[in-house]
């Protein structure tokens, strides 16, 4: 079976983390989000992939190449200007030859579900349940067939949603050719399905597991879930006097210095310097080339490549981009004293504990204080002793 993965969008809701990479390349448990999906599909027996790429395509091409490292074959189709999902599928035309699986690249699925979906009669749509259906395409189902599909409904008619995974035959390309642009000028895949739904020809398959990452703070739960199956591994150097608890995965070339205390699950990438006397609490993933230094504490966070948290820092429940530098003593808060849900730029994270979303290449002077729910744009710079809260734009200089 061939599989088309849609990975051309930026994922605007994930800004500022998408400054250097598309959403699907954001790391969860130190692998791009899309790699987890591709591995699940591979384990379901799929070997031939077409990645539809656009925004930040060079990151995807560089990382996955032709797929041989994963034992799969990948070809690419470019959708450089995003004109909607149907247009994205259309760009893979002629690169798939028979019935094919189509998946959004920004979700996490289990191999078993993918295998089962592939064995359904096409056309078939994977569906799932959620407690906030209004953010998705809401489905009504009758006798195993999809009977209604309503996008981002204010009054959802059910908690069943379109999971963004489909089994199609080549017929879908003809249906796409008949689609007219939507009011926002895009060609929507769901419009191409309207006829099939009306004629009760679109099968529905219930996915046993489905997770999507809508906002930066959703990455923390996804990270924790994916690290649930983490095995302890050490390809680096652990000095004497380091305490490791639970599953801790240490990458090649990384050094954990004496006095460091790590409570798993925790994954540490390649060539990192951790400690001496660092304290890391799960579930935390730390990318390649990072430095977590003396008396720095990290808890339940995602730290991307090349970020330095070197002296007397505290980071909790946060997502930190790549190439950031925290001045000595810079800390961030992750709990409101009124114990309300943390909001980021006015949006409810549905989390009691959340620190900050910090873009790439952000520099903090010494002793900055970052308040709960801060969102900091890529390339921002802060003078020593800055008190930071709310939203800070890309490349802002704060004195």
């Amino acid at each position: 079976m061939e599989c088309v993965v849609l990975a051309a969008g930026e994922g605007k809701r994930m800004r500022p983390l998408t400054a250097k990479r598309p959403k699907v390349m954001l790391p969860l448990a130190n692998r791009p989000m899309m790699e987890h999906l591709v591995l699940a599909a591979r384990d379901a027996g799929i070997t031939d992939f077409v990645f539809v790429v656009g925004y930040g395509e060079r990151e995807i091409r560089k990382y996955f190449g032709n797929g041989s490292e994963w034992g799969i074959h990948i070809s690419y189709a470019a959708q450089r200007n995003q004109h909607g999902t149907a247009d994205a599928v259309r760009s893979a035309r002629d690169l798939v030859t028979g019935p094919f699986l189509l998946m959004n690249g920004d979700m996490i699925l289990k191999a078993g579900d993918i295998a089962n979906l592939c064995s359904q009669p096409a056309p078939c749509m994977g569906i799932s349940t959620t407690d906030h259906p209004g953010d998705y395409g809401v489905i009504l189902e009758d006798g195993g067939f999809v009977t209604s599909l309503e996008e981002k409904s204010k009054k959802p008619k059910s908690n069943l949603i379109n999971a963004g995974a489909y089994l199609f035959t080549q017929e879908i390309f003809d249906l796409i050719d008949q689609v007219h642009p939507s009011p926002r000028g895009e060609l929507e895949l769901t419009d191409a399905l309207a006829g099939l739904i009306a004629e009760k020809k679109l099968k529905a398959y219930h996915m046993s597991y489905w997770m999507d990452v809508g906002h930066p703070w959703d990455m923390l739960d996804a990270n924790t879930t994916l690290m649930g199956s983490l095995d302890a591994k050490n390809a680096g150097t652990v000095e004497e006097g380091v305490f490791l608890q639970g599953s801790v995965d240490i990458g090649k070339g990384s050094v954990i210095k004496s006095g460091t205390y790590i409570e798993g699950p925790c994954v540490i990438g390649k060539n990192c310097r951790i400690g001496p006397h660092a304290y890391i609490r799960g579930a935390t993933s730390i990318g390649d080339d990072c430095h977590i230094g003396h008396c720095s504490e990290i808890k339940n966070s995602i730290i991307m490549n090349g970020t330095k948290i070197p002296h007397f820092n505290y980071i909790g429940d946060s997502v930190i981009g790549s190439g950031c530098n925290f001045g000595a003593g810079t800390k961030l808060a992750n709990l409101r004293h009124d114990h309300q849900n943390v909001k980021v730029c006015g949006k409810d994270t549905r989390r009691k504990k959340f620190g900050a979303v910090i873009g790439d290449d952000v520099s903090f002077g010494i002793n900055c204080s970052i308040n709960v729910g801060s969102m900091i744009g890529s390339g921002a710079q802060f003078a020593p002793n800055s008190s930071i809260e709310g939203c800070t734009g890309d490349k802002a200089t704060i004195r």
Partner: protein, 581 residues
């Protein structure tokens, strides 16, 4: 300048090529055409803009194709002269950007060997040459490689042939970029048609010939396989069109050395009627910048050739026609300026011979005038004329040169080098003075008076600062009353008969407290001491100093407008071509 695009891949070529050509329209838009290899070679080509007229071209079948959007240089815009051009058998098609300089000779030989020509273009000789070699060698790449050494001039070309699953491209002195897609490869004049499909590109170099299939590009240079760096392109569509410049105007200012050189090379008075070569008297009718070009022409022709020249605003000429005789010359970039066209019509009714100087082949003025000389500026997008003005001067200087017995050939052929030098001039101090002023005066004498007028016009057009050009001696007859420390004066003061009197003029202005910015010759020892800001230009002949001082004033206006945050390419209230009275 024309735009070309080629495609080999997994999708239908025609719609992709049509979309690509629309993006290349800024390089030329008087006609267009597409050819594809479907069951056989199919083509569709028309006079007009592709954005208005592409319905039939999109229908062409096949996954290999080429397209062209034209800016006419050889042969007026019509269906036959539109590219692609086909060989006698209709199985080979070519698109070409550039100029084949030895086409006349090649065409004569090919006709003698029995080839049938369907167009007046220089390009068509290439496809017939390829036809001969392809017949012998049965290999399209070999055929093109054999033909290329026979061509003189500039070219970026793409060739396709029936039953060949590839395109062959070649470049010399015209741009050509190859875009590497997924199971598809593009070739085009620039990245604009490619950007939507891929960010991976290779820029060909002069002498490169490449064969391009769906999956593979092989590049040859001097008979050897060469590699060209694969680059990742981050530019936006607008960035590419502006070629990395902040504004079209700056890009066009930087294209002036090429525009001047190309025009000097292209203007051949021997092919123009006798009445142009030996006029008894000349009347120039023009508007705006073209009027200033005419004024420079007046000074140069009268001094070098002793032919009396009068210069008239075309808009005045119509309502207050002076008694006219001799040759009437109309200068218009677009060839559509209503006033200039009316003035030439009127001249014809007075039984005068008319000559048009324009940038657009087949434009209204070229159909009206008895003779037309085309400048080779290429399309100009910025409203403020820069490279078309320099190209007008190239035509006019070449006319002066010819009438005076081609004494200046060498100087004109090298003038572009001095223009090139001046582009990098540092004007920071002068810009800060101008940007802070409400009024500016530009003064000069002789042809530099006309340069002063044009410099002031550029400043007015794009920076919205009140600027006036004066003949330096006239300043005392009125405007002196306006001079103060608030009114900077830009003075053109180069060596020659008027140098001494200019120096005294400048001293008088300084005495009234006006800050003076002077443009003078490098190495001048007197001028820098008496002025506030001295801008040196290379010490050359007056002809060339007219050009370099002019470019300096264009840059001064441009940087001042940028400093003031003006919309340089689209100044308020102005249109590129004024087609109403």
């Amino acid at each position: 300048m024309c735009g070309i695009v080629g495609y080999v891949g997994r999708r239908d070529a025609a719609p992709l090529i049509v979309e690509g050509l629309k993006k290349l329209e800024y390089r030329g838009y008087d006609s267009f055409g597409v050819a594809t290899i479907g069951k056989s070679l199919e083509f569709d080509k028309h006079k007009g803009r592709i954005s208005e007229n592409a319905r039939s071209a999109i229908q062409l079948k096949g996954k290999i194709g080429i397209g062209h959007t034209r800016w006419a240089t050889h042969g007026i815009p019509n269906d036959a002269n539109a590219h692609p051009h086909m060989d006698c058998s209709g199985t080979i098609a070519i698109v070409h950007n550039g100029i084949i300089e030895n086409y006349a000779e090649l065409k004569r030989q090919l006709k003698a060997r029995g080839h049938t020509f369907r167009s007046d273009t220089d390009t068509e000789v290439v496809v017939h040459l390829i036809e001969e070699e392809y017949g012998k060698r049965k290999d399209l790449l070999d055929a093109v490689r054999t033909v290329i050494p026979k061509l003189e001039g500039s070219y970026a070309l793409i060739v396709i042939a029936d039953k060949e699953e590839r395109m062959i491209v070649a470049r010399n002195a015209s741009p050509l970029v190859i875009g590497i897609g997924d199971g598809e490869i593009f070739a085009a004049s620039d990245m604009t048609p490619i950007l939507e499909h891929t960010e991976r590109a290779m820029f060909l170099e002069d002498g490169d010939i490449a064969t391009i299939s769906r999956e593979e590009v092989t590049i040859f240079n001097k008979g050897k396989v060469v590699k060209r760096q694969l680059e990742l392109i981050d530019w936006s569509l607008e960035d590419v069109k502006k070629g990395g410049f902040a504004h079209y105007m700056l890009k066009e200012i930087y294209e002036q050395p090429q525009a001047f050189y190309n025009t000097i090379r292209a203007v051949n008075l021997e092919t123009v009627s006798e009445f142009v070569r030996h006029p008894l008297s000349v009347t120039v009718v023009a508007c705006g910048s073209s009027y200033h070009a005419g004024l420079i022409f007046k000074y140069l022709l009268e001094e070098s050739c002793r032919v009396p020249v009068r210069i008239e605003f075309a808009s005045e000429f119509k309502y207050y026609p002076p008694p006219i005789e001799g040759l009437v010359v109309g200068i218009t970039q677009s060839g559509e300026t209503a006033d200039t066209i009316t003035a030439l019509k009127q001249a014809k009714t007075h039984n005068c011979r008319t000559l048009a100087i324009t940038n657009i082949l087949g434009s209204s003025v070229s159909r009206l005038a008895d003779a037309t000389i085309f400048m080779r500026a290429g399309p100009e997008i910025s409203v403020a004329a820069t490279k078309s003005f320099i190209a007008q001067l190239a035509v006019l200087m070449q006319i002066v040169n010819n009438i005076s017995g081609t004494k200046c050939n060498d100087m004109l052929l090298h003038a572009h080098q001095s223009i090139e030098e001046i582009l990098l001039i540092n004007l920071t101090d002068a810009v800060s003075v101008c940007a802070g002023a409400k009024d500016l005066f530009y003064v000069g004498r002789g042809p530099f008076y006309a340069v002063a007028l044009e410099g002031a016009l550029k400043m007015k057009e794009i920076s919205y600062i009140h600027a006036e050009g004066y003949a330096a001696g006239e300043l005392k007859h009125g405007p002196f009353a306006l001079l103060s420390s608030e009114t900077p004066v830009i003075a053109l003061c180069t060596p020659g008969d008027t140098y001494g009197v200019m120096i005294s003029n400048i001293k008088e202005m300084k005495a009234r407290g006006a800050p003076v910015i002077a443009i003078g010759s490098e190495g001048d020892s007197e001028l820098p001491d008496i002025v506030d800001i001295f801008i040196p230009i290379p010490r050359t002949t007056p002809f060339v100093q007219v050009l370099t001082s002019l470019v300096t004033l264009q840059l001064l206006a441009y940087y001042t407008a940028v400093a003031l945050g003006r919309d340089v390419d689209k100044p308020r209230n102005l249109a590129k071509s004024v087609t109403v009275e």
